[in-house]
């Protein structure tokens, strides 16, 4: 005699699906295939590291404000830290993109990995552009007046007003970082789920079976 099946709750369904999609040894793997031992596989995590520095330095700038980052020595330092971590973030991400493009990284049911990576790239460009607009200097004034003509010409100037400092600040420090951060989390989960893409001419004995390759 067996106990009657417990009614299925949404938490139970989500838990079962999460464990099925992300077994612990796959979510936090402690081994990788031999072909991952290449410098070209390093640029994804370099991008992630730079992103964390961008968030941290941007957080400090948000706490102290424009007067501080324009006039104090520490403010100049964190202002520069934010700029150069963004430079490295974009450079590492583009090199990561080049590497993945030339190894056709969408192979092996990795379409969502590729798509979320592309969304992250586009979202990061938007975040960087709104960052130009909130420097509170002549550079941001010049860029905003140039950008408004382009955006007005495609009809979005009324809802996305690049000369509205408050609106651009909120896009830059709340909305876009939230979107980019969430897309990065989904991207990394997809990498964990499908595994790191193997080289095109990989020897099948070097594949890890549980990563569904």
């Amino acid at each position: 005699m067996t106990a009657p099946a417990a009614p299925r709750s949404w938490t139970g369904i989500v838990r079962d699906r999460a464990v099925r999609s992300f077994p612990p040894e796959q979510l936090l793997p402690d081994k990788q295939p031999i072909y991952v031992a290449s410098w070209i596989y390093v640029f994804g995590v370099l991008t992630l590291a730079a992103f964390l520095v961008v968030l941290a330095s941007g957080g400090v700038l948000a706490i102290e404000g424009p007067q501080w980052w324009h006039t104090s020595t520490a403010g100049h330092f964190f202002n520069s830290l934010h700029l150069w971590s963004v430079e490295l973030f974009m450079a590492f991400m583009v090199i990561h993109l080049w590497g993945k493009f030339w190894m056709a990284a969408w192979r092996g049911r990795r379409a969502m990995t590729w798509i979320t990576g592309s969304l992250c790239f586009v979202g990061s460009i938007g975040t960087a552009f709104t960052g130009y607009l909130v420097q509170t200097n002549f550079d941001s004034q010049w860029i905003s007046t140039q950008a408004k003509d382009g955006l007005n010409s495609v009809g979005v100037g009324a809802v996305f007003n690049v000369t509205n400092f408050g609106q651009m600040l909120m896009w830059h420090i709340v909305l876009l970082p939230l979107v980019v951060g969430l897309v990065i989390v989904v991207h990394i989960l997809q990498v964990r789920r499908r595994g790191v893409v193997p080289p095109i001419d990989v020897d099948p004995v070097d594949l890890i079976p549980e990563q569904g390759q």
């Binding site: 031992a37 410098w39 583009v94």
Partner: protein
């Protein structure tokens, strides 16, 4: 402080309008061209340079 500031100052004087390269319809600042060149060099180096192999790796 002034010695430290001098030591940490940019090795290249940046206090002037940027230099631009013109090639037909293409116009790009020298600074951006240098950055793109560096990224290509790093990309090629990442492919060509050997990666240090740790023990016990599959």
């Amino acid at each position: 402080m002034s010695i430290l500031a001098t030591a940490l100052a940019a090795p290249v004087n940046l206090n002037h309008p940027g230099h631009y390269v013109h090639w037909g319809v293409i116009q790009i600042s020298l600074a951006n061209l240098v950055v793109i060149g560096l990224m290509i060099v790093i990309f090629l180096a990442a492919i060509l340079l050997p990666f240090p192999r740790g023990g016990g790796r599959k």
